[in-house]
Every structure is written in structure tokens, then in C-alpha cells.
Symmetry: C2
Subunit: 202 residues, 2 copies
Amino acid sequence: MTQKDLNTEQKILKAARVVFTHKGFEGARMQEIADEAGINKALLHYYYRNKDKLFEEVFKEAFYTMVPQVIELLKSDMPLFDKIRFFAEKYIDIFIQNPFIPGFVLHELSQNPKRIVDLISNLGIEPQIFLQQIQTEIEKGAIKPIDPRNLLTNLLAMCIFPFVAKPILKNIMFTKDDKAFTLFVEERKKSVPEFIINAIKK
Amino acid sequence: MTQKDLNTEQKILKAARVVFTHKGFEGARMQEIADEAGINKALLHYYYRNKDKLFEEVFKEAFYTMVPQVIELLKSDMPLFDKIRFFAEKYIDIFIQNPFIPGFVLHELSQNPKRIVDLISNLGIEPQIFLQQIQTEIEKGAIKPIDPRNLLTNLLAMCIFPFVAKPILKNIMFTKDDKAFTLFVEERKKSVPEFIINAIKK
DNA sequence: GTCTATATTGTGATAGAC
DNA sequence: GTCTATCACAATATAGAC
């Protein structure tokens, strides 16, 4: 599936995205990326020195898709419940459009946890403002007491997990076709924030 | 770290567990498994014909650890809230003791989703009873209405996700050492069921 | 820039001595 | 059963023609 309107470098990156996110670094083959791009193996090395460099591009892109944008959102001055609704909807949407990103990023990070240290310190990813906002609401008596880190973890878990566990969920839930699963996840854009708000509201 | 009181076959399996669960099938090297077992590469092939066979042993074991036992638990006739508490506590405990199992199983399943079809149909994993129990509670008016599949998904997500996303969570939550993370997860054995029950109780 | 051909290294697997 | 040595092939990477 090559695009005639992309230059070679773009075609390679696009193909690499597909193969790396599906197979991971170790599972990916340079030959498969070349095939997917409709070009020759040697060209991969012409544009990107080696497999590592090509992977690095794809991984960074995927990480940016998954983490910083949305953490930024948590820093806004929106009221807590609105923020939770907005976050879940936007985040789940990102994954509906990029269903392989979560598994890919999480797997590669656990293969090489040092990687994240650089990325995170470069980007200044700090959910402190969100955690503080939760703490403030608790102190005001506006919501039930909860460890704010637990609330954030639960929010992330409910948004991300279905995409990481898709094969199990699809089978266990008896929604064996993809359309039913997509519907199920689509519906979670509303039900996840509702669930969370029910859990913490007084 | 070889154990003097294990026979060779056991040493191999133990080593394979470590290497496969950490690196995945594609990332694992037979040489590394041999080193970890303190034996020779050729012996791996003597006891297990090839890499696939050895992997199959490890994967099946890991899958059994992660899925069937605990699904069984969902079938008991315990009251819903107790069941949720019991499930979360037991499930999170399993992962505290086997922190690499979730990432390993989920990753390998998405590499090869066909694998699960066999395993699941062989084992008769059906959470129908649990889903039905939730539905009954809703109809009795005992809990808030919710798609039972969403409730199960959320329960699984909150138990499993922290172990899959450990590197990110550790960094983002500023609990950069392992002890703090373990404490955080330990504490979730109580807070996760509490969170869920708060979300659904009337 | 793009290709074919080839070098080089890595890795699973086997042969055969002990 | 366990080892050393080696094979066979797969995969990354490079050389060099066009």
C-alpha cells in the first residue's frame, strides 16, 4: 500500500510505523518494512543509518502521541469533573485512531525503562497540577477522599487497558468481531468518566 | 542464579521463565536462557526440541497464572461487593509476586491473537456468570445501572494496568524507587475495590 | 536516489566425543 | 546427560553499478 504522493523518506517512515508498532523492535524485520514501503532494503539504510535510528523515530512519535499532549490537558484550569470527561473522551479517541500505540509504547518502555527517563525529563511531564487539583477538591470536601495518584492511575488504566488487552477482552466478552469491539470502546468515552465521577462524588 | 536442588529440566524451565517473561519471544535468546540456567545451549535442545516448544511451556504457565484461576473466582456465589474485594486483592497479589506476567502475556497475545482462541476454548473461560450477577443486581435496583462488560473491564484494568505501565507510572508519579512503587500497588489491593464499589453503589 | 549483489554478524539447531 | 564444535540460515548492513 504505497502512496504515490509521498516521497521515499515519508514512505519509509510510514511503513516503519506500521511494522514496528505491530511487531515491536525485536519482532520487526527490515525486509518487511522495505516491502511495506514498496522499496528496497538498501534504501532504508540510505535514509536512516540503521534499524535503531529508524526505530527511534517511530518510537518518539508514538510516545508523543500517547503521553505529552494529554498530560498537558491535565494542567488546564478546567473544573475537575469536566476535565475528567474531556480527558477520557479525547484520550480514548486517540487510541481508537491509533490502536497499536499503547501496547507498542508500554512494551518498548518495559524493555528499556531508561528510555523514558530521557524523554520525560526533556518534556517536563509533570501531573503535579492535576494531582494537586484533586487534593484541593478533597480538602474542600467536594469529593470523597482518595490518594490522587490512585485516581490518575485508574483514569489512565480505564482509558488505555482495553487497547492493550484487546485479544483477551474480545474473546472473553464474546464480542468476537472487530466492529463490536470498536462500539464497546467507543461507548467507553462516556461510561469511563461517568464511572470515575460516580466513584469520587459525594 | 542456579539452584543446586533442581534437576536440569527444571533449571531450564526456570531460566526460560525469567528470560521469556522479561524479553518476550522475539527478544529472548537461547544463549541467554542457557547462561541463566548455568548450562549449555545444546542442552536446551536436548530437553526441549526448539525455541517454540520451550516458549510454549512458559507461555501456557504464565497464561494459567493470569487468567483461569481468577476467572473461576468470579463464578462463585459470593455477594457482588465481597467478590469484587476478594478478586482485586487476590489478583493484585498474584501480580505483585509475578510482576512481569501481565506485560508478557498481553504482548504475546497481541503478537499472535489466534493463540488465545485455543487456550480459551480449551479452558472454558466464561465470565457470563459474573456478568449475569451484575445484571441481576442492577435489575434488583441494588446498584447503579452499568454495562456489566464495562464493569468487568474496569476491574481488570485497575488490577492489571499498573504492572504493564510500571515504567511510566514510576516516573510520572515521582515514586522513582521500586519500594515506593510496591507500596503504592500494595495499597491498591484495598483502594481499587473501594473505588469500584463507590462507583456502582446507590 | 535506487537498485542488485554481497559481506558480516547473529542465532537456532545439530553432530559427535565423552 | 552434558559438553565443544560447527552448520545453516536469517537478518542487518555495506559496496558499488546505474
